[in-house]
């Protein structure tokens, strides 16, 4: 009975944020993604490299939309993505013959590793998964995937976050660096 009772939930949703918060979240995310898109089209496209991976959209939600969250702090953003990328590439290299298994192992192991290192960052799970299901383009990168797009992209997003999130007087970022 307790098992079913727990499914009903116990509390309510946190309140909606102010309009100014929404505006600055939009500005931050817009600038962050713009910068990445521009870097990609001006510089990396000519080298056949890609910078925009889906998990950066998720990271933007945190570093521009929930700036206080422990999950959104630089330690988590950088550590979470880099560790997860390593795990993802390794999983594909070892278990590539069974893609379903490689994907499951990559995501599950990434979560544990992020917990272990206190770098939990939800988009990291997407980064790990992308290393497995990202197709030929990602697979040929091998461990270079960790450096570009992952580490490079994360640094760009963090730079924009630090610069933009500290402009409004009632917003600050980060809560801690490491």
């Amino acid at each position: 009975m307790e098992y079913f009772r727990k499914m009903r939930g116990t509390t309510q949703s946190p309140p909606r944020v102010r309009s100014s918060e929404m505006l600055w979240s939009w500005i931050g995310a817009f600038l962050g993604m713009s910068l990445m898109g521009l870097v990609q089209s001006i510089w990396l496209d000519s080298q056949g490299q890609t910078l925009l991976i889906a998990s950066f959209g998720a990271t933007s939600v945190l570093v521009y939309g929930a700036v206080r969250s422990p999950l959104a702090q630089p330690r988590n953003v950088f550590g979470g993505h880099v560790l997860s990328a390593l795990v993802g590439v390794a999983a594909w290299n070892i278990l590539g013959a069974w893609p379903w298994l490689a994907a499951a192992v990559a995501v599950a192991t990434a979560i544990v590793l992020m917990h272990l290192t206190k770098t939990l960052h939800p988009p990291g799970g997407a980064t790990a998964l992308n290393a497995v299901i990202g197709g030929e383009a990602v697979h040929t990168l091998g461990f270079w995937y960790v450096l570009t797009p992952v580490a490079f992209g994360v640094v760009l997003l963090l730079c924009v976050a630090v610069l933009v999130n500290n402009i409004p007087h009632n917003r600050r970022y980060p809560e801690f660096w490491f």
Partner: protein, 196 residues
């Protein structure tokens, strides 16, 4: 019994209101925040309590009674000082017992927990005097011995436990050799929680 001393019971609305007044998205549910608050409060309470020791709050010197004193004399002393009990010491100032209202009541044939009204009722019911026996007794005969005592280093948390477990109201504080140093009453303990 749950300890709620000083704990402001936060409602979910309080937490929601606070979250609204803060900048940005706070990624915690009101329920979880209340849980953290309650646990942290408990931790703080434990920490504060373990800091305090008997020596910090005990009354000293103590009104004590001498072994060999008559029960009547003891009653006069207690009445004069407006206290309901006191430790009993030997000629060498070593503690050997505690005398309180409860001990008197028991020797009057009443329960230790009897109220003043119970004493009046018993007196009116009885032919003669219910305290006649007491006139001939010494405190040696009526005191509770051996006494429950504590050291000056005993923490307030431990003292609180002793009061509850032994169902007593005062705790003489002695050094390791049994020399009486002070006394901690329930009143002292209550006062010490919020007032230093």
């Amino acid at each position: 019994m749950k300890d709620q001393c000083g704990l402001l019971d936060l409602t979910e609305d309080d937490v929601l209101e606070a979250m609204r007044s803060m900048q940005g998205y706070v990624d915690i549910t009101p329920g979880t925040f209340r849980e953290i608050y309650a646990l942290a409060y408990e931790m703080a309470l434990t920490r504060v309590r373990s800091m305090g020791q008997a020596r910090d709050i005990m009354s000293s010197p103590v009104h004590s009674l001498q072994l060999g004193m008559s029960a009547l004399e003891a009653a006069h002393i207690l009445a004069r000082h407006g206290i309901s009990g006191a430790p009993v010491v030997t000629a060498q100032s070593k503690i050997c017992g505690v005398v309180s209202e409860k001990d008197f009541l028991r020797h009057m044939g009443l329960a230790g927990t009897a109220s003043f009204m119970a004493v009046i009722a018993a007196s009116l019911d009885t032919q003669g005097c219910i305290s006649t026996d007491l006139r001939t007794l010494l405190i040696d005969d009526i005191m509770t011995a051996p006494p429950v005592t504590a050291l000056p280093e005993t923490t307030l948390a431990d003292i609180s436990a002793i009061f509850t477990e032994r169902v007593i109201n005062r705790l003489p504080i002695c050094d390791a050799d049994g020399y009486l140093l002070g006394i901690v009453t329930r009143t002292d303990l209550v006062a010490s929680l919020c007032w230093r």
